[in-house]
């Protein structure tokens, strides 16, 4: 097992708010000061995630979410215990919980510590490279939360 930490930004940067996880990961990459942290951005799904996280001791995923229960721009932190395992009817819906369990069962090095920093979004269905205002405002908070999880004091915006 690599004694390293992975920050993984997920989403689609062509679908407006959907790409916020990628933006946050990019800011984290420019600010974090730890040698044992890798930052990766991905727009892939399902089993591809297994290949990315395999071997990391600690993983922080940054992702967009649409619960419909909180204001857009709300930043939340989830752990694996918050996931429910489900069946995916299409590649677009294959989820992390299944991937984690599969990895563990077939002997991959699954992270001992995994958190998801999720940003509630407003609109993931229109093609755009812009974030909506509330979501754009949430970037700083999400970055702070990621850096906090990495054990760094939240750095001031530069």
């Amino acid at each position: 097992m690599k004694d390293r930490t992975l920050v993984l930004g997920l989403g689609n940067d062509l679908l407006g708010d959907d790409g916020v996880g990628l933006t946050v990961a990019r800011v984290v990459e420019s600010r974090h000061q730890q040698r044992d942290v890798d930052v990766v951005e991905s727009g892939e799904a399902g089993l591809a995630l297994l290949e990315i996280i395999d071997g990391y001791r600690r993983v922080v995923i940054v992702d967009a979410i649409q619960t419909g229960q909180v204001e857009a721009g709300t930043v939340m932190i989830y752990g694996p215990e918050d996931f429910r395992r489900v069946v995916a009817p299409s590649a677009h819906y294959s989820g992390l919980p299944e991937v984690l369990e599969l990895g563990a069962r077939i002997g991959c090095d699954m992270p001992r510590d995994l958190k998801v920093v999720a940003i509630e979004i407003a609109d993931p269905l229109h093609f755009s490279t812009e974030l909506t205002e509330k979501v754009a405002h949430a970037i700083e908070e999400a970055v702070s939360k990621v850096l906090g999880l990495l054990g760094e004091p939240a750095l001031q915006a530069r």
Binding site: G11, D82, R85, V86, Y93, E98, E101, L102
Partner: protein
């Protein structure tokens, strides 16, 4: 979980994409199904987003539309650029494109067979839904199979990355060729990989035969009326009417298997039209020269289907020997062709895995595969370009028009799932009609409906996320006066 340290909410998969994946079922006075409507989310504004950009950017942009089939979009756009700039790639470039493309088809089909749709059969249609996934598959066929799936997929993806760059941001296809080929040093390793890929595909065919075909109940299910629709079929074929994923003519056969049309991609608008229903964002593609008759099926209705089942229905034979043998066996068991059973898509998909792997072996044995003659530089003025490929989920069209400087003035994409949308709606309605009588909804309605549309391997919301992955399916039953009687959620 925590939210600013104050608020507690639960993560419910159903709310991941609120309000999508809706099925509305309308009952008549007797409580039987009159109509069922299947609605899915649709991404909007792609054309507006693209206009005014250089057409040359499209292979990069379209490959980012979707985290599942980036390679299909990249290749369709690249071929549209060849056409737009009036340039034909040299043979070695075409070989490298086909190599990458078949590697992609192999790994994407493997994903569906073992992880997404296949588990319905490998684990069993009567197994609890929670077990019908890759974990159920390894429970049934053994841990080492799971390891093999992961390892083979990883190696095939490494091949794609080696040649084409990052899967989601490929820097590979250029008008008139490719940016990078294979070096002679790459050849032995990739030859071995192609052979291992073929072993894996043949092994998968054996798993499918042992578990699915040896089980009479499963075969009966595949052949049952609930999953059968007599429609037209469409797919790309070579000059011998054998399926080819990368290139060819578009062939359409009627519900009796007779060739109805065969045309070049530039003629697609002469053959395909889109029907709009008030209840859905999705535009339903149909054959213009047959006409829209409203989800009826049969020879008078222009509804057609794409994807593995359709590709094998438009074929006279497979282009490679082991796939051909499997094709004959498939035809003997379910035929005569055309085979109208939606669930036969799963078997057809495995046969296509074998073909893709055999094609990889052939390409790696080609003396020109490591040639450095990889590009013809375009010199003509761009105007209009149309590219077509067979994506894993079916025929994919990219159509671009530009001004003389190559700036986009028109963009039209028809994706595989759009081609299949009318037949998918028919499948949902058929399941509803079979399972709802006299206001009584049978157990397993959602399951039946899901099995039908999972066989198409549908592509609905093109984004990827870490959150629980369930398709948020909601079924709503309405009385004859439109009042909501019942709502079933998963």
């Amino acid at each position: 979980m925590e939210s600013n340290g104050q608020k507690h909410i639960t993560v419910d998969p159903i709310t991941r994409l609120e309000g999508h994946g809706k099925i509305d079922i309308f009952l008549d006075d007797k409580g039987d199904v009159e109509r069922a409507y299947f609605q899915v989310p649709e991404l909007r504004g792609f054309e507006v987003f693209s206009l005014g950009r250089p057409a040359e950017d499209m292979p990069q942009i379209t490959s980012r539309i979707c985290g599942v089939c980036p390679t299909a979009h990249h290749m369709a756009s690249t071929k549209a650029l060849d056409h737009l700039y009036h340039v034909e790639p040299p043979r070695p470039a075409r070989l490298v494109r086909e190599l990458v493309y078949n590697a992609f088809m192999l790994e994407d089909h493997a994903l569906h067979v073992y992880v997404l749709g296949g588990p319905d059969f490998i684990v069993g249609p009567e197994a609890p839904a929670a077990e019908r996934n890759i974990l159920g598959v390894i429970g049934k066929v053994g841990l080492e199979v799971g390891q093999r799936v992961i390892a083979t997929r990883r190696r095939v993806r490494e091949l794609i990355t080696h040649v084409a760059g990052k899967v989601i941001h490929p820097v590979f296809g250029l008008p008139g060729g490719v940016s990078k080929g294979l070096s002679p040093d790459d050849v032995p390793g990739f030859k071995q990989l192609a052979k291992d890929g073929l072993d894996f595909a043949q092994f998968t065919l054996q798993v499918f035969k042992d578990i699915v075909l040896a089980n009479r109940e499963y075969v009966e299910l595949i052949k049952s009326d609930a999953y059968t629709h007599k429609t037209y079929y469409m797919g790309l074929v070579d000059e011998k009417n054998q399926p080819n994923f990368y290139d060819g003519d578009i062939r359409v056969v009627d519900p009796n298997g007779k060739e109805f049309a065969k045309f070049k991609e530039v003629q697609y608008l002469d053959h395909i039209a889109e029907h709009v229903e008030p209840w859905s964002y999705v535009k339903f593609c149909y054959l213009k020269n047959v006409g829209w008759k409203g989800f009826k099926g049969g020879i008078d209705d222009g509804v057609y289907s794409v994807a593995p089942l359709a590709r094998l229905n438009v074929a006279d034979a497979m282009a490679t020997p082991i796939a051909q043998e499997a094709f004959l066996e498939y035809e003997a068991a379910l035929g005569p062709r055309p085979i109208h059973h939606t669930l036969a898509n799963h078997w057809a998909r495995v046969i296509e895995m074998v073909y893709a792997a055999e094609r990889l072996v052939e390409i790696m044995d080609d003396p020109e595969v490591a040639s450095d003659n990889l590009r013809v530089i375009p010199t003509a003025t761009p105007d209009k370009g149309i590219g077509v490929v067979e994506a894993p989920r079916g025929t994919l069209f990219h159509h671009f028009e530009t001004d003389p400087n190559g700036i986009l003035t028109l963009v039209n994409l028809i994706v595989a799932t759009q081609n299949n949308s009318a037949r998918m709606a028919m499948s949902v309605e058929t399941a509803a009609k079979a399972l709802i009588h006299g206001f009584d909804v049978s157990e397993g309605l959602l399951n039946k409906v899901e099995m039908a549309f999972r066989a198409y391997d549908p592509c609905h919301a093109c984004a990827t996320h870490s959150m629980p992955g369930q398709m948020p399916l909601v079924v709503r039953l309405h009385g004859s006066d439109g009042t909501l009687l019942e709502e079933i959620k998963r």
